[in-house]
Symmetry: C2
Subunit: 340 residues, 2 copies
Amino acid sequence: DESAKKVEEEVGRVVEQARELQESGASLISRISNEEQSLRQKANSLESSIRRLRSLINSLLSQKLLDPKLADKLEEDLLRARFIITDGDAAAFLPAKAQGRFLRMFLGPINVRASRKDVQLKVKEEYNSYRDRTAFLFLLFPLTLLILRSWIWEGCLPAFPVQLYQAWLLFLYTGLALRENILQANGSDIRPWWIYHHYCAMVMALVSLTWEIKGQPNCAQKQRGVELFLQWAMMQGVAMLLQNRYQRQRLYTRIALGKANRMDVVWGETAGVDGQLWVLCPILFLLQGFEAYVGLLLLKTAFVGVVSEWQVIFCGILLVLMAVGNFMNTVQTLMAKSRF
Amino acid sequence: DESAKKVEEEVGRVVEQARELQESGASLISRISNEEQSLRQKANSLESSIRRLRSLINSLLSQKLLDPKLADKLEEDLLRARFIITDGDAAAFLPAKAQGRFLRMFLGPINVRASRKDVQLKVKEEYNSYRDRTAFLFLLFPLTLLILRSWIWEGCLPAFPVQLYQAWLLFLYTGLALRENILQANGSDIRPWWIYHHYCAMVMALVSLTWEIKGQPNCAQKQRGVELFLQWAMMQGVAMLLQNRYQRQRLYTRIALGKANRMDVVWGETAGVDGQLWVLCPILFLLQGFEAYVGLLLLKTAFVGVVSEWQVIFCGILLVLMAVGNFMNTVQTLMAKSRF
Ligand SMILES: CC(C)(COP(=O)(O)OP(=O)(O)OC[C@H]1O[C@@H](n2cnc3c(N)ncnc32)[C@H](O)[C@@H]1OP(=O)(O)O)[C@@H](O)C(=O)NCCC(=O)NCCS
Ligand SMILES: CC(C)(COP(=O)(O)OP(=O)(O)OC[C@H]1O[C@@H](n2cnc3c(N)ncnc32)[C@H](O)[C@@H]1OP(=O)(O)O)[C@@H](O)C(=O)NCCC(=O)NCCS
């Protein structure tokens, strides 16, 4: 009876403590949302001040009431202030720029922005290592298929392993597109095109799944389209591996320079990797040329009439468009960088 | 010159304010992480107390040192305390149960848990309305295909619209699976099976995409498998519509009773919808029977030799497994509910 009493007391205490925990949690949440509110107000008023000052500077400049050099300096100060608002530690508490349709479609209205910089960096690092792992498979998988084709399968790919590969591609590109959208929501400056590029690749993988893989007789000719598709995929693997090496280096430079604080880095960041970029880009251009070439070959096989399914034409056009887009965006990136 | 000075001053002030904003943000983040730390410690020690007390109660009971009635009451108190820890307002700040592999595969290490209850509810409501929208299409899309087949296409489905539909299914099920994983991370009690069920449906949609849709001659026979697949999909639409009506009602009851505070609801929640469940379940059982029947028919067409692709056999087996799983889990849900 003694011990029963004691247990009862202890249970009462535990329940009490649980209730206290519940209250601390609730109060923390309400305090956070109050502070968020106040940060948001400050940020809004700052943003409108910045807008006002910029137009003021412009009008003073045009009336020649302001020294152009001073104006430049002030502009840069304002840019920096803006940057602090949109990318600093307070940014996590400001209303997010609406997350893209893609994320909303797949995930619903959940917030994917991390409030802490170290978490954001972790997400980015994990993205890089995800790409490393997949780039490797990207090379290995189609290579194996092509080797087996000539060694064992006597020039005729069986449908199942190819479809397995295509399903894997679809899954992979969906993952990449989702992750890149998440990075964007976390403040990455990734150009929208690189994300669209992955949407296109998703569509391509999907279409290729419906693409019938014909067997004997006359296999080599009928499977020309699939063969080209596999070659393109391998080439993607090479591009990814190169890009990964470069971008990982870039991230390390960034972390080393700016310690999780991007604002300090942007103005001096290319320093460490500039040289690499000029080696990488010619290779990328070559690969992009090959991408367009594969697209054109696909179109040719379709129009010469060897393989006349719509999937071949569709993939051909898509590949050419992707190559053009990749080229234009790589050039624009280079131009933007050389301006600094 | 006067105005230049003024602008310069103002810009200086704005930069200063931006820096202050940055500091408030940083300090808010560090305060949050400190408080998180302390909540986590408290929660951990509470959890171990609860574990200790439960085993103490059990041992006292077996030594007959405790009145069984009192023991029951204490057990329930402890359960409630546990519930507060795992589901209360503090839960958002505790280390999440590791998010499932599926989410990690697609999204990387991003946290999808919302800390505020109202956001969690919004996510849930959006999930329900997403299901409503799709359930409607679920019925309409295959129905249109089947109607067009007999009216216009003379008993022979063209490949493209069917594949479009299958691609849509794949996309849809992926979205549902992701959203349900997110709900689970936000504390939903969804049974794992319903999520696995959507993984199976994803696999099925993927496999059906590789499934060649043969044309004339002898279309009706060759397309028997596809026809059955479409019928199954329609049936899924009916099941979803019914389930949605019930579950929406349930959420409203919950919100009305407990105001975003789940703990108060769990012990009395079924009250409002108990009746509905007993109407819903026979229909669900009927549909599950039909699901198994479609699966068996698929297997029959495969083994009789009309359509002998592996896809048919695979989908047949999968459908039967899904039907069995659905049945078992529905029964278990009913049993769990009737015990309260
Ligand atoms: C040209 C290239 C090397 C420039 O890379 P970069 O120096 O990182 O470019 P930016 O400075 O504009 O990058 C801005 C942001 O976008 C990201 N990014 C750039 N290109 C990206 C790509 N292709 N995929 C994903 N993210 C990319 C960067 O990581 C950076 O992110 P951060 O702001 O979070 O740090 C890169 O865009 C690239 O490799 N493009 C070619 C890809 C291609 O053509 N592939 C197919 C070949 S067939
Ligand atoms: C049987 C059934 C009606 C019970 O629903 P319920 O009363 O909500 O069940 P529970 O109380 O166990 O629900 C616990 C949680 O799981 C969710 N849930 C239950 N079944 C679900 C399902 N099939 N899909 C998604 N979520 C489900 C509930 O919304 C609830 O979420 P919450 O904790 O966030 O509020 C429901 O599970 C169901 O409709 N199952 C049959 C589905 C089926 O067989 N479909 C295919 C037919 S061929």
